[in-house]
């Protein structure tokens, strides 16, 4: 269970020692007592019999940012895609274990992956606007079946709000009708973030969202995430350990499909328990 990986003495942050401890609720501050939004239990994912995720259990807390770091091939992306059942779109994929969101297993019988993906949004590593206008990109998810129909003015408001949240509004407000493909890479990625936000998912998964971006675009996305965690639970996979250090509340270190260590970001980066974590975050390997 996750407790194994989480250091007990979380002294480096001005937050309760153990985020799971119910006692923190006594302070009356909901943000200070995050509950596990997602509980991953014994997750194993294999492709054509080759195991990519070798049994991972961890908790993801509500309205926090969990950073996942690890060298290439650590199955960070596969883990992320297991949370919204995107792995099963690939051939030869097999998933075992449980992923509980609000206590309900997303791999349980009768769970509709389509409905699940409306609750769990994803931003991919490569900026991937659809070949539509900026406006249509943002409202894509809200035009789908199973989402409440919105009036034109409601859609306009939604587009503005989401683009503002993604720090893109000022750059594109005069050309919402032009193609999303004509934006720069950094703008495209923020458009993708806005598009995910428009569905209003409870959980946002980001798969190395800044891997191809310049520092300014990266800073804008990180700023956006910092605001978004007030309302969303965020999982941020990153190849950039510094980004995890800057942006996440908790950090998990993955290696070869296993979870090596999970703790508050400060403790992972200043006082890692595992030798391999220390080597990785200090740049000695990986």
């Amino acid at each position: 269970m996750s407790g194994v990986h989480r250091p007990g003495g979380d002294r480096s942050r001005g937050e309760p020692a153990s985020p799971r401890a119910g006692a923190a609720a006594a302070t009356g501050d909901a943000a200070a007592a995050p509950r596990p939004k997602v509980e991953v239990r014994g997750l194993r994912v294999s492709f054509y019999g080759e195991e990519a995720i070798k049994g991972i259990s961890l908790d993801i807390h509500e309205r926090r940012i969990l950073g996942i770091i690890g060298p290439a091939g650590s199955a960070k992306t596969t883990f992320l895609r297991a949370l919204d059942r995107m792995n099963e779109l690939s051939e030869g994929c097999r998933t075992e274990g449980q992923v509980l969101i609000d206590g309900a297993d997303v791999y349980g019988p009768g769970v509709d992956p389509v409905a699940l993906r409306k609750r769990v949004g994803m931003v991919f590593a490569m900026p991937m606007p659809l070949p539509l206008s900026i406006y249509e990109n943002v409202v894509y998810g809200t035009r789908l079946k199973g989402t409440a129909a919105k009036s034109a003015s409601e859609l306009d408001e939604l587009v503005e709000a989401c683009l503002r949240s993604a720090f893109l509004w000022d750059e594109v407000k005069d050309r919402l009708g032009s193609s999303g493909l004509k934006l720069s890479g950094g703008q495209q990625q923020r458009l993708c973030l806005a598009r995910t936000l428009a569905v209003n998912p409870e959980i946002i998964l980001l798969d190395e969202p800044c891997s191809g971006l310049d520092p300014i675009s990266t800073a804008k996305i990180e700023e956006a995430l910092a605001n978004l965690k007030e309302r969303h639970t965020i999982v941020l996979v990153t190849n950039n350990t510094k980004q995890a250090a800057r942006a996440s509340d908790e950090t998990a270190f993955f290696l070869m499909g296993e979870l090596v260590e999970l703790g508050s970001t400060a403790s992972i980066f200043t006082n890692p328990k595992d030798r391999r974590t220390e080597d990785y975050v200090t740049g000695r390997f990986g």
Binding site: K118, L144, T196
Partner: protein, 278 residues
């Protein structure tokens, strides 16, 4: 070094010669037909009906018959073809069954059109008692162009980036919504190419329609009327030695029609691609 340059030069020369040869053959055929045929074409020739077995008069009903037959064939085959392509590429995983389906369509594409004509005659004309008619001819043509439509549509659908599908699905779209909103709009130019290729093939088809649509001189008044296509008209005129002049005139109209269809296809495709990439 010298041999390097020589082989390079030789490769360019051979490729250029092959291209030139093909263009020359095409140009020769087109000019030959147009040179003999264009003088025969007049407004009266295009609008009038054939008289005296086609020795006199025009080809009006044949033009109408050709267009109706081809359009009807596309209307029948397009939903089937695109549907099959969507099913194969979006709803099935690569398996022995899909390979068998693909192999089957490829075989179907290689069957000589006279065989389709024979099948159409036996099945649609006699068994289903449709008679020599527009509908029997169109159904036969539809079967004939189906493989082309399936394969070109499938190629076009596969060319749509997988990542766009993933984005759509990750936003909570169903497979069908993804097909409708992302896959099909972006596969449209390719599908259109297949439609135009099929249309061109239908216009010029003789063997498959002569046994199924018949060769009536008259303007069809319904789906169960027999029609004569341009290609059939040309075939009969030339084969029976009725009128070489009228045959060339018909051939010229046919060639112009096919060229026009192809030119329109390219124009539409280019416009579509430019609009998408803007």
């Amino acid at each position: 070094m010298n041999s390097h340059k020589l082989s390079q030069w030789a490769a360019v020369a051979v490729l250029a010669a092959a291209t030139a040869l093909i263009l020359a053959v095409l140009a020769f055929i087109v000019f030959f037909v147009l040179e003999k045929g264009l003088p025969q074409i007049s407004l009266g020739f295009l609008l009038d009906r054939p008289r005296n077995m086609g020795k006199e008069g025009g080809i009006g009903p044949a033009i109408v018959g050709t267009l109706l037959l081809s359009l009807l064939a596309i209307a029948v085959a397009l939903p089937l073809g695109v549907g099959t392509a969507i099913y194969l590429s979006e709803y099935t995983r690569e398996s022995r069954l899909t390979k068998a389906i693909r192999f089957g369509t490829d075989c179907l594409a290689g069957i000589p059109s006279i065989i389709f004509g024979l099948f159409g005659y036996i099945f649609f004309v006699t068994t289903l008692r449709l008679g020599w008619s527009l509908i029997a001819g169109a159904l036969t043509l539809a079967i004939m162009i189906l493989p082309t439509l399936i394969r070109t549509s499938e190629e076009a659908i596969r060319a749509v980036p997988r990542s766009w599908r993933e984005v759509s699905l990750s936003l909570g779209a169903t497979r069908w919504e993804t097909v409708r909103k992302v896959v099909l709009p972006n596969a449209l130019p390719g599908i259109l190419t297949g439609v135009m290729l099929s249309f061109g093939r239908s216009i010029g088809e003789t063997a498959a329609v002569i046994y199924t649509a018949g060769s009536s001189f008259r303007l069809p008044r319904g789906a169960f009327d027999s029609v004569r296509t341009l290609a059939v008209h040309f075939y009969i005129l030339a084969r029976e030695g009725l009128s070489t002049e009228k045959a060339y005139g018909t051939a010229a109209v046919l060639v112009i029609a096919v060229l026009a269809v192809n030119a329109t296809t390219y124009a539409l495709m280019n416009r579509f691609i430019r609009r998408r990439s803007r």
